[in-house]
Symmetry: C2
Subunit: 163 residues, 2 copies
DNA sequence: TAGTTTAACACAATATTTTGTGCTTTGCAA
DNA sequence: TTGCAAAGCACAAAATATTGTGTTAAACTA
């Protein structure tokens, strides 16, 4: 394990403890060369499950990835971790209920979009821009316009309702 | 290390190799109970440095976080990993050149925005929506309008230049 | 500011991992 | 379909990590 301070390849473990909550092993290491200390974490590699993408290919499914995507979309937004966890659990349940051994990525995307739309509209737009792969700025406009016309026909553009 | 298949706490290492590229140790483990195998990765904990936020508080700085933020903004965009790495290196260099022992988060945000603006405009808008904490949908409009008026005065809204 | 929780630190006996070498399998590309 | 690269597999000798116990320092909260 390379030392982050001096770059030396040599370091040794001076303490090692299990972190139950995150299923990890935390190690405290000391660089042989410069003597500085740092921590490392050992974690399980993400497990593969099957998601069928639009082009027919299969890919690993992980609820953590879904959660990460949602958390990104909600970054600095007034959405609590608890709300996210609730949504993630709901999605996981929906996924397992729907699926035999596979589920389409389209379906998963819809679950997430549906949930986010209820939770926070900025997060919803952000997620859509990634999920639907907006190609340029005009796609943002188009999406915003059609969203406001369909889902929130009475919203005034300039209103800033959230503090 | 808990087995991801049967949940048992007992597993043993059957192989262990360094992964030079990512500065990690990859271990192959076998569950004592069910005998199934899985991989784990040990990585260095992110290192703390000092960033001064707008409200005056100090926070850990990590170039990895910057990179992660950029990668999020570039998700599913035609921006190569190499381009991102170049930008990240440039930012890291700028940060270290600017800084005594601290740097303002504003400054870092500007470095990133400057770089992304050159690289990809959709990524740029996404990053801005997080960095500048867009409050609602109208903020998107306002930002897009002022961006197009200042940076790209001749761009037509409906043009879809990228494939 | 006292009380509490978490991280760092130390140490030693025991047990496990590391590492070189090399063969096999699988996935991907030519 | 052939060939290469990466991952999995195996083994054994040597080296290192693990884990209980306990102390101290730091951060957080009531």
């Amino acid at each position: 394990m390379k030392c982050i301070y001096c770059g030396s390849e040599e370091s040794k473990v001076i303490d090692s403890r299990a972190v139950e909550e995150t299923n990890a092993i935390k190690r405290r290491r000391e660089c042989i060369k410069c003597g500085k200390r740092f921590n490392t974490y050992e974690k399980v590699e993400v497990v593969p499950m099957l998601v069928v993408k639009n082009d027919g290919t299969r890919q690993a499914f992980s609820i953590d990835k879904i959660k990460a995507g949602i958390m990104r979309a909600c970054e600095k937004r007034p959405v609590s971790m608890q709300e996210i966890d609730t949504l993630v659990n709901e999605i996981e349940r929906k996924v397992y209920n729907t699926m035999q051994e596979e589920i389409s990525s389209k379906k998963i995307g819809e679950f997430v979009m549906d949930g986010l739309k209820q939770l926070d509209e900025v997060s919803y737009v952000r997620f859509a821009s990634v999920y639907k792969q907006f190609k340029d700025i005009s796609t943002f406009y188009d999406f915003l316009l059609s969203y406001e016309q369909s889902a929130r026909p009475k919203t005034k553009r300039k209103s800033k309702t959230q503090k």
